[in-house]
Amino acid sequence: MKYADEFRDKEIALGLAKAIRAEADPQKLYRFMEFCGGHTHAISRYGLEDMLPKNVRMIHGPGCPVCVLPAGRIDMAIRLAERPDVILCVYGDLMRVPGSQGASLLKAKARGADIRMVYSTIDAIRIAQDNAGREVVFFAIGFETTTPPTAVMIRLAQKKQLENVTVFCNHVLTPPAMQNILESPDIRNIGRIEIDGFVGPAHVSTIIGTAPYEFFAEEFGKPVVIAGFEPLDMMQAILMLVRQVNEDRHEVENQYSRAVNRDGNLRAKEEVSDIFELRDQFEWRGLGQVPYSGLKLKRAYAIYDAELRCDMHELRVDDNPACECGAILRGVKKPVDCKLFGTVCTPETPMGSCMVSSEGGCAAHWTYGRFRDHQQRRVS
């Protein structure tokens, strides 16, 4: 805990807040997107918004793996789990993600599907060992950070010659999604968001390094600061971004040098690229089809691919038309702009994906920040 305390020191925080206020030019707008849901969560949980001047605005990006998983993939998993020979292993926060027509894994489990919440891919291996004769499918999701553990699981299954374990692969990649947001033209009904810089995800960069972000700095002229998840990390990263904007620089800077370097974790990258390959397209909730943004198992590992082994069929379902997740994930709208926010859509009854995980923009605002809406109304 000592470790974390150092990154939550109030005095240092107030000092950083003061520096941001002093250096942010009141004539300018600073719109920074924190891509990663972990950052969104930290901003809300520590109330960082209150510490920033009005012209420094944080935009919550699509970086929560639960939020960007399309309803169709949930439906596919439910269908699979309903087969009596299948045990589906999932991370807990997927349980409540809405599929089509209000379906969810939690409801499927209540109706009798054998769905087990696991905390690591190793749990899935153990379950497969204990249940010879049944198909154990691991519902793999997440960004670059959670892909290596899935790779480890496949290696382990190979070593133990387990024949009853497969992976339903939904791993996605950060840089293509950032590019998609930056390149997306004015979208009808949504509009376009101006972004002046990115806070880059730390955990992802411990694996892939900082190099993949250099493209954004160079091609799009956007500053990127890789930051840790402690509140002080965030504040420092914001100050670094303000400085880059003021100095008209656009570079990749690394606030999180205590764990991140330019090249990342070479062994993990090798392992991942040995087992996985790019999909041509992958659907993101809110962003639609994003080219080369998702991973699947390579041919050589086809026996571990649930989509092939269990003969799963791609399902596509449209989100609730009133749900503004798409605009929220792109940072064009705020949660309160959605008519469903806080009325029919709450963390107990999520309509859209942004409300499901505590890292989603809507859930974070509902859970930690909604008192500000009332304060603002009172002031105006």
């Binding site: 109330g47 209150d50 999701i141």
Partner: protein, 346 residues
């Protein structure tokens, strides 16, 4: 006493369906194990109910079911928990708990040795709290139909005339006190769950609070508006409930809220908020500002209130928000937990 055909083999034996059948085996289990552990004059009479005197005052009654997993955890087990939980529910009314009932639903195959340990710690917890378990029930269900053992307890107590602690009593300006560190029980339980086992020295705070409450009432009297034990859902759920029932809001200071470093670290690791984690030996008291100092002093003088703290105040708020100034300098809401508490994936 009656002679039984076979003796309970506590060391190696286990509960089978005959122990719930109403026959001799059941009688033997009850007298050989439960009566032994709870030992008191009411049970000894062997009736299906107990008659007892209650002193002057209003009766308080409560009931609760215990389905905790694992059954044994650092700092207690399902038995002591069942006694503490019910004693505390009574004590939160400012009442003196007197008598408890205990009902057991046991899964076929449950080991006598474990049952004995659980019954003995119930007996012990009751004696320490000064209450008697005076009636009970035993059912045995087939293997697979219960997770080892479920316990229900009910309890009665008496609250002196004139004392009326109730959820709708809080007023704007009242102080919020908490009797000690938050989240110990929930983290102790989680540390022993399959899949999740992690190293921590945190033990459950499970304890009977009636003595602490008596001292608080002595010091604060009518200035105490209400008390509640923040069990499942933690402090967050308790304060949100009170905000609704009393039609106000709360402002808390995160810096003032005591959390053990080990609990904070475990919560960090699992992506949980200590304010949502369960407690079994803590209470929240809302009281008039002028009584705060005396009550806080009385709490701190008691072993179960050593870390007591004043963590915030009641404010006027139509939205019933529980707001908190973070130790970092910002502001946030402390909301109910939504759904089950599930660790985040990354």
């Amino acid at each position: 006493m009656k002679a039984y055909q076979r003796k309970l083999d506590i060391r190696n034996g286990c509960v089978d369906l005959s122990h719930g059948s109403g026959g001799r085996a059941m009688a033997q289990l009850i007298s050989g194990l439960f009566h032994e552990a709870f030992g008191n004059e009411w049970l000894a009479r062997g009736n299906d109910q107990s008659a007892f005197d209650v002193g002057a005052g209003r009766m308080v009654m409560t009931t609760d079911g215990y389905v905790v997993s694992p059954l044994f955890f650092p700092g207690g087990n399902i038995g002591s928990l069942a006694v503490h939980g019910t004693v505390n529910d009574i004590a939160m009314a400012g009442a003196r708990p007197l008598y408890l009932s205990a009902s057991f639903i046991i899964e076929e195959g449950f080991r006598f040795a474990d049952l004995k340990m659980i019954a003995e710690s119930m007996g012990e917890a009751a004696r320490t709290a000064g209450v008697h378990i005076v009636t009970g029930d035993t059912k045995v269900v087939e293997r697979g139909k219960a997770d080892g053992l479920f316990i229900s307890t009910a309890g009665v107590g008496v609250v002196p005339h004139g004392l009326d602690l109730s959820a709708e009593n809080a007023r704007v300006g009242d102080r919020v006190l908490i009797s000690g560190t938050l989240g110990d029980h929930g983290v102790a339980i989680m540390s022993k769950r399959q899949n999740l086992a992690f190293e921590t020295e945190i033990v459950s705070d499970s304890a009977a609070l009636n003595d602490l409450v008596a001292k608080m009432v002595e010091a604060g009297g009518r200035g105490i508006r209400l008390m509640r034990d923040p069990t499942r859902g933690g402090l967050a759920a308790t304060l949100n409930e009170i905000a609704l029932q009393s039609d106000l809001g709360f402002h808390l200071r995160e810096e003032a809220i005591p959390v053990k470093p080990g609990v904070a670290a475990a919560c960090e690791l699992l992506g949980l908020d200590p304010l949502h984690v369960a407690n079994e030996g803590k209470l929240v008291a809302i009281l008039a500002p002028e009584n705060t100092a005396a009550v806080l002093a009385a709490m701190r003088a008691h072993p179960l209130g050593r870390d007591a703290a004043d963590i915030g105040e009641a404010v006027a708020d139509d939205h019933h928000f529980v707001q908190m100034a973070t130790s970092f300098g910002g502001g946030r809401i402390v909301d109910w937990l939504s759904g089950e508490q599930l660790p985040r994936i990354c």
